[in-house]
């Protein structure tokens, strides 16, 4: 490889790294180390540990232990920034490592939570994370104060140096003493006005390792003597295994065992075992090709008659009945019945899957001494409990090794899937390390899916063409009819829509399905945001209103909504008079505490080919700790929901999904990605909203509304690709 040109900025970066100033690394315990260290964290050579969150070595380098999953949302960087802010250290001296789930368990949930979901890391957890940094800083000051015989309040802590008058010392000098200090009272965290580091657009700490192939994911785990398992559960979820005949595959090279995995009676949680067959081999390719050849008979039961069409019929039947009242506006039904001008519509969204780029997998080694687990999970502490339960071992003997997660999107929430139990069970049976990988086909078939939704909406037009009543009734398909997400989340975009309509009523109906369901990046809001915000355009246009002006009018007095809408109006140049074949559309949705608006610009050819040219995003998340990372998350959110709205949709037939891989479940590609412009309209104060999820929900309605302006066609279901968008 030839030398890289040294431009000035590269020179700075390279010399900084060579001089040892940029110590960005990851301690990922390898199998060997893990198998000999009863408590891996105690062996870290990173100097004095001031608390569970950070240690300072003799050169002043700070190691920050991050309990959260890094799944692309920037957890390693965000947690490190929040602690470095309070500690007040040179950012180039900070390195991030993953915290240990076993330590968390043994020390009584020392990190409070390892759960990484709900756009909550900064939004909800900044108080205790920043407090850990503040506490360390004050204890360092106290150590120096005692050594110098002065009051702690007199000491300054800046950029790794403690000082008072002529006294000066490094954090490293006082780290050991600080570790032994208990403060009489823990300090409060800083207010945003005092920040010196937070709010700056910093690059992520994990960019280097993710650009040279060295970042390790669960699927990359290696152990001596490890064997590989390919797994197939009944393609109709919760179907029973009748029999299989492994005589045909037994003699194939490298095939070690064919093992039946059985569901436990009464255990139907998302992470519980379903009936499945595992073929174990000396390579996953050999195991997988053998499994493909294995004759298996399933008892699929009554669920085999379920299809997208049968669920459509079921939804229509249920929509004719009253549902559970979520939002009660007295007089709504009477107003609808008596209304002179009533607008009605029905919207639906289909099944969607997570399709994380890293297929579901787990590596587990069950030994008499301990259990080691690599699992792609959004909560290591739950993966630990699952492995302990399946292995029949005390949780304290289970070590979950946190590595990078190749996409989460809510699909690995709650500790993941049955794969952790599958790998644990296989390792227990075979008494050796087992890596179980679901093929992409298995991943799509057995994922815990995003549920479909069908909603009827009705509005009465009153004075000035504005709505005087607003009624919605919604059907959700959930496993066994059991609530999985919770109506507060799932129905939020309808039940809590901001528009000031005098009479509002929302009803919800849970329909039963055999398909396991779970959260899916902005759960519920994706579906209901689309429906509400497209219907808003229908109502606004019927009343003679410009859709953006309608939203401004209907949110009068709601300062945060007005801020976002006015910023959108100023930045996006929304207009309704573009030539046919071109259109702009707007939408605004609140999700995970943030209000996010989108303005989409589309072109539709006469033949109906859609181009989404541009999406302008405006968000009020209250505060932003890293605008660079936040912008990336918002761009990603646009791609996420544009994928489903334009190209997505799973189809059920005979109880199973017809879509099997990326040829039949296409994802957005480079050429389809719109230009994205991000603007922050921050209301500040006490508001802390999420960033990872809120940009998705307003995108599909903004695009559908733009399609209406371009073509005159009102889209009430997704994917857009299934609609004829041609015009003349």
């Amino acid at each position: 490889m030839s030398a890289v040109p040294i431009t000035r900025r590269h020179f700075l970066k390279v010399t900084a790294a060579a001089g040892g100033g940029m110590l960005i690394g990851f301690y990922i315990p390898d199998a060997e180390a893990a198998s000999v260290q009863p408590q891996p964290w105690t062996a870290l050579p990173q100097g004095a540990e001031i608390n569970a969150w950070l240690a300072i070595d003799k050169d002043g380098n700070v190691t920050i232990r991050v309990p959260h999953t890094e799944m692309g949302q920037g957890a390693l960087t965000s947690v490190s920034m929040m602690i470095a802010e309070e500690l007040h250290v040179d950012w180039t001296r900070v390195r991030a490592v993953f915290a240990d789930a076993n330590r968390h368990l043994r020390n009584n949930n020392e990190y409070k939570t390892m759960f990484t979901a709900g756009s909550a890391l900064v939004r909800r957890q900044h108080p205790h994370i920043m407090q850990a940094g503040a506490s360390a800083r004050e204890r360092l000051k106290e150590a120096a104060a005692r050594a110098w015989g002065v009051d702690r309040k007199e000491i300054h802590a800046r950029q790794g140096t403690l000082s008072f008058g002529n006294f000066s010392g490094t954090y490293a000098q006082f780290a050991t003493a600080a570790a032994a200090i208990t403060l009489p009272e823990e300090p409060a965290i800083k207010m945003p006005a005092e920040w010196w580091l937070l709010g700056k657009p910093l690059h992520r700490l994990d960019v280097d390792v993710k650009s040279n192939g060295s970042a390790t994911y669960a699927i990359d785990a290696q152990m001596p003597g490890m064997v590989y398992a390919a797994v197939k559960a009944c393609p109709v979820p919760w179907g029973r295994l009748k029999r299989f005949d492994d005589s045909a595959i037994k003699s194939r090279p490298g095939i070690l065992a064919t093992i039946a995995l059985k569901a436990m009676p009464g255990k139907t949680d998302n992470s519980d075992l379903q009936d499945a067959v595992a073929v174990v081999g000396d390579s996953w390719w050999r195991a997988k090709t053998a499994l493909d050849q294995l004759p298996i008979e399933w008892d699929t039961g009554a669920a085999a008659s379920v299809s997208t069409e049968s669920q459509r019929v079921e939804a229509q039947r249920l929509l004719d009945q009253a549902g559970v009242v979520v939002t009660e506006g007295e007089g709504t039904l009477a107003a609808i019945a008596a209304g002179e001008k009533v607008i009605t519509a029905e919207y639906d969204r289909p099944w969607e899957t997570h399709a994380r780029m890293e297929p579901i997998n787990a590596t587990v080694n069950v030994t008499p001494e301990r259990v080691d687990v690599w699992s792609p999970t959004q909560d290591q502490s739950v993966a630990l409990q699952l492995a302990a339960d399946q292995a029949g071992r005390h949780p304290k003997d289970v070590y979950v090794h946190t590595v990078f997660l190749g996409g989460g999107f809510g699909g690995n929430g709650g500790g993941g899937t049955a794969v952790t139990r599958q790998a644990t069970e296989l390792s227990k049976k075979l008494q050796r390390p087992v890596k179980a990988i679901w093929s992409r086909e298995e991943d799509i078939a057995q994922d815990k899916q995003r549920p479909p939704n069908v909603t009827r909406l009705a509005a009465v037009l009153g004075e000035r063409g504005l709505p005087s009543a607003w009624f919605t009734r919604s059907v959700w398909f959930t496993q066994d009819g059991i609530e999985r997400v919770g109506p507060a989340t799932a129905d939020y975009a309808i039940s809590n829509m901001p528009y000031q309509v005098p009479n509002r009523r929302h009803e919800r109906i849970n329909a039963k399905t055999h398909i396991p369901v779970t959260t899916h990046r902005a759960p519920g809001t994706n579906q209901h945001g689309f429906m509400t915000e497209c219907f808003v355009d229908e109502v606004a246009l019927a009343g003679g209103w410009d859709p953006l002006d309608w939203r401004l009018e209907m949110t009068k007095g709601l300062a945060d909504w007005q801020l976002v809408l006015k910023t959108l109006k100023e930045k996006a140049g929304f207009r309704t008079d573009l030539p046919k074949g071109q259109g702009m559309g707007v939408a605004i949705v609140e999700d995970h505490g943030s209000i996010c608006a989108a303005c989409a610009t589309v072109r539709v050819s006469r033949a109906g080919e859609l181009v989404v040219a541009k999406v302008v995003i405006v968000i009020d998340s209250g505060h932003v700790i890293n605008p660079h990372n936040a912008a990336e998350q918002l761009e990603g959110g646009v791609a996420w929901e544009l994928t489903h709205a334009w190209l997505g949709g799973l189809e059920l037939r005979e109880g199973r999904f017809v879509n099997t891989n990326f040829d039949s479940y296409p994802l957005l590609r480079m050429s389809q990605m719109p230009a994205v412009e991000v603007h922050f309209a921050l209301s500040g104060g006490r508001k802390w909203g999420g960033i990872g999820e809120p940009a998705g929900p307003p995108v599909p309605p903004a695009v559908a509304n733009a399609i209406w302006f371009a073509t005159g066609k009102r889209i009430r279901s997704t994917p857009f690709k299934s609609h004829d968008l041609s015009w003349s």
């Binding site: 490889m1 030839s2 030398a3 890289v4 040109p5 431009t7 900025r9 799944m71 692309g72 920037g74 690059h203 992520r204 994990d206 960019v207 280097d208 390792v209 993710k210 650009s211 040279n212 192939g213 060295s214 970042a215 994911y217 699927i219 990359d220 290696q222 090279p253 390579s283 996953w284 390719w285 050999r286 399709a355 994380r356 780029m357 890293e358 297929p359 990078f404 190749g406 996409g407 989460g408 990988i437 093929s439 992409r440 660079h628 761009e635 990603g636 959110g637 791609a639 996420w640 994928t643 891989n661 990326f662 040829d663 994802l667 957005l668 590609r669 480079m670 050429s671 990605m673 994205v676």
Partner: protein, 159 residues
């Protein structure tokens, strides 16, 4: 059967079936795990490597087809001290999110720039059409490719 494979400049002798995809030979036999499994049917590009400098999907390329050819994986594209310009650009721009697809993205981008040092947006769309990113880093990937093109142009310019 035994196959002699030249991977990142080193020769390895592998005893595998002739139809074993290179992906699994690299990941399981040579422990080169930077190349990722995503779909197994050449739809996602996470397994993109170079065969004699050309981008191929390792998940559908049998080892028998790679004998006598130069195989380059993400681990061999650059070195720690001398990263490939695409890798430098990726860190400069800050492209990756979850990162799982990025080895494949980088290999496709490097192959594009080797053939076309100054690609247009349409060239980039065409060359990167086979690489999916679920996190939606496409805009940063495009920016990274343009940044890498500048780095490479600076390198080849007369001093």
């Amino acid at each position: 059967m035994n196959f002699a494979l030249t991977v990142n400049g080193a020769i390895h002798d592998l005893a595998v079936e002739a139809d074993t995809p290179l992906l699994w030979a690299l990941r399981e036999h040579l422990q080169l795990t930077g190349t990722k499994y995503g779909c197994g049917i050449a739809q996602c590009g996470a397994c993109t490597i170079h065969l004699d400098g050309r981008p191929v999907r390792a998940c559908v390329t049998p080892v028998s087809a790679a004998v006598g050819k130069q195989i380059t994986t993400i681990e061999g594209l650059g070195t720690k001290d001398h990263p490939h310009p695409v890798q430098l650009a990726w860190t400069e721009v800050g492209v990756p999110q979850c990162g799982y697809c990025q080895s494949g993205q980088i290999m496709s981008a490097a192959a594009l720039l080797a053939e076309n040092p100054n690609p247009t947006d349409a060239d980039i769309d065409a060359a990167m059409a086979g690489n999916l990113c679920r996190c939606g880093t496409y805009l940063r990937i495009r920016q990274g490719i343009k940044e890498a093109a500048i780095l490479m142009a600076n390198k080849s310019a007369p001093k």
